[in-house]
Symmetry: C2
Subunit: 338 residues, 2 copies
């Protein structure tokens, strides 16, 4: 196990890499904790949860809504949870988002930590303190930014991870490579997906990505600059995700291809082919036909919009991204021409 502490504006997160879930009881008082997890994780790893207070949610993005938060709060009241309780989100991104949000508002804020169980949550969702819920088709419309006290990495959880979930995780890893790490991009081009999935190599890859993201967040916790780069592929991706039956990975993958093409008009980016090839190699879709008007109506409510402009993340080259405000009307034209 390796412990790394990352400090943010007013708080810090302890990262426990290559850890074992059973060790968690050594860093917290389990009688003063409540685990939030979902049915899938609970059923697949029920032994791990013995001796813990648990709130088990229905699984899926569909339940990342206020009603679920209401139910968590009601159960915490029943459990007589007080301000010194810690919530621990054990699950994928939906579970960590809801847990972080519930902990941020319950009794005006209690401690929380995560044990992410999906690759995507390990390299992305669990890190950086953004939490929230969806409102209708709008993703993460309500939420806060508040850092977990700890993130606990037990890759044993990945043994039961479905292939589609591996792909979701690799989407964010490829995103990190695109915006910040050309060397990792080349490594991903060189090795097969399986060579990461079935070996100890995954621990190394997870740590590299977690630290990449944590470092970006550390210097721009409230997303006034650098942190925006992490939205690469997410503007169009999010607009697609809740409208179509796409996984987060599929939606963001298509979003990254779109953003690569849009970059060509602004930064003369000329490596869209490499991005598309890498996505395909990891089993992700690069293109899809979609109702452009419908996507555009969601884009207009994107959190990154300001007046008539949207801050859009473009690639200059593999490993180097920039944020550029683009007029919505201009963006609409380019998207229509894709």
């Amino acid at each position: 196990m390796k412990k790394v502490r990352v400090s943010y504006t007013t708080s810090s997160t302890d990262f426990y890499f290559s850890a074992s879930f059973s060790y968690l009881k050594q860093i917290v008082d389990s009688s003063r904790c409540v685990i939030i997890t979902d049915e899938h994780v609970f059923d697949a790893h029920s032994k791990k949860f013995k001796g813990w207070n648990c709130i088990v949610l229905k699984a899926g993005e569909h339940y990342k809504v206020q009603t679920t938060v209401d139910s968590i709060i009601e159960q915490l009241i029943e459990m007589e949870a007080d301000r010194k309780f810690t919530l621990i989100g054990v699950g994928g991104g939906v579970v960590t988002d809801i847990t972080g949000y519930a902990a941020s508002i319950f009794l005006r804020g209690i401690n929380f930590g995560f044990a992410p169980t999906s690759l995507l949550a390990m390299v992305d969702a669990a890190i950086g303190g953004k939490n929230g819920i969806d409102v209708g088709i709008y993703k993460n419309m309500a939420g806060t930014i508040r850092q977990p006290s700890f993130i606990f990495y037990d890759t044993a959880f990945l043994k039961t991870l479905p292939d589609a979930e591996w792909r979701n995780g690799f989407t964010e890893i490829i995103k990190h490579a695109c915006i910040k790490d050309a060397a990792m991009f080349r490594e991903l081009e060189f090795y097969s997906p399986e060579s990461f999935m079935r070996t100890g190599k995954i621990n190394e890859l997870i740590q590299r990505n977690a630290m990449l993201k944590a470092k970006v967040v550390k210097y721009d916790e409230f997303e006034n600059g650098e942190r925006r780069l992490l939205n690469f592929g997410h503007t169009i991706g999010h607009a697609l995700e809740n409208q179509y039956e796409l996984s987060h990975g599929q939606a963001i993958s298509i979003g990254m291809t779109c953003a690569s093409h849009i970059s060509e008009s602004f930064t003369r980016f000329n490596e869209t082919g490499r991005v598309v090839e890498l996505l395909k190699k990891f089993g992700l879709p690069a293109y899809a036909s979609f109702d452009k008007q419908k996507v555009f109506s969601v884009l207009r409510m994107d959190k990154k919009r300001q007046r008539k402009e949207i801050n859009f993340v473009l690639l200059q080259k593999i490993g180097k991204a920039v944020v550029q405000p683009i007029e919505l009307s201009h963006l609409e034209k380019i998207i229509n021409s894709l």
Copy 2:
């Protein structure tokens, strides 16, 4: 008009005392603001709201719930509000609590300010960044701590304030006097309520109380010490408020009398008589019969509880309060004996 800036941990609040509501347009861009108010305030001062985007809520604590927040978020989406929008809560404590909460979670947090219209909101509720909603009979069970960018004091709003609302405000003023300001306590004993209500003297009293609270919050924003003193009378008060048909002022007034009596057992406080007399002079109830078991079941879920103890605010003398952890079982005995 007098402007005072108070800085907190990571943000600051500008207090505009003795201000005129019409001046608000000079400090914000009204096209990028949404006013949140309630029917009563909107109807009584409709002229003031001309040229502003408004969301008008049903009036009353009964509506300080998640459903109201959901409806605000839906309306903000319809208005295409973005991250640079400012919400302005114009109303009493319910409106400022909901506005602060909605602004704290919408798009993971946007700016907000207040123009409090009740005496209670002016001297207490609008200050200090605590916001939230009730969950069932539990007050402020969900919320955050986040400071308003500005608080705008226009005492013209008080001209239409019902007498019961004046009394609610004086409850918190008397609380401030009890815990922190013996000189103000003597002043309140000396002058008649009317001499504050009908004269310019009210501006001075409001500013004194607002600054008293802001100073306490400044040095303990997240309530680890000194700020707890502001809960004097609120532990039992809150347990009474949502169970009985009591106004906040009435409930807290009874709560202060109880807390004064409880203080006698712990600190040898011997001025309960003066507290009771002052409350009565300002038209507030000092005693009430209530179902002690029912109140106690709510107390067990008080936010200030930790394990089997509750941090209870006691008076040592008029103007000097202390926090003492009291065992719930011990507290139950004392309350039963009152």
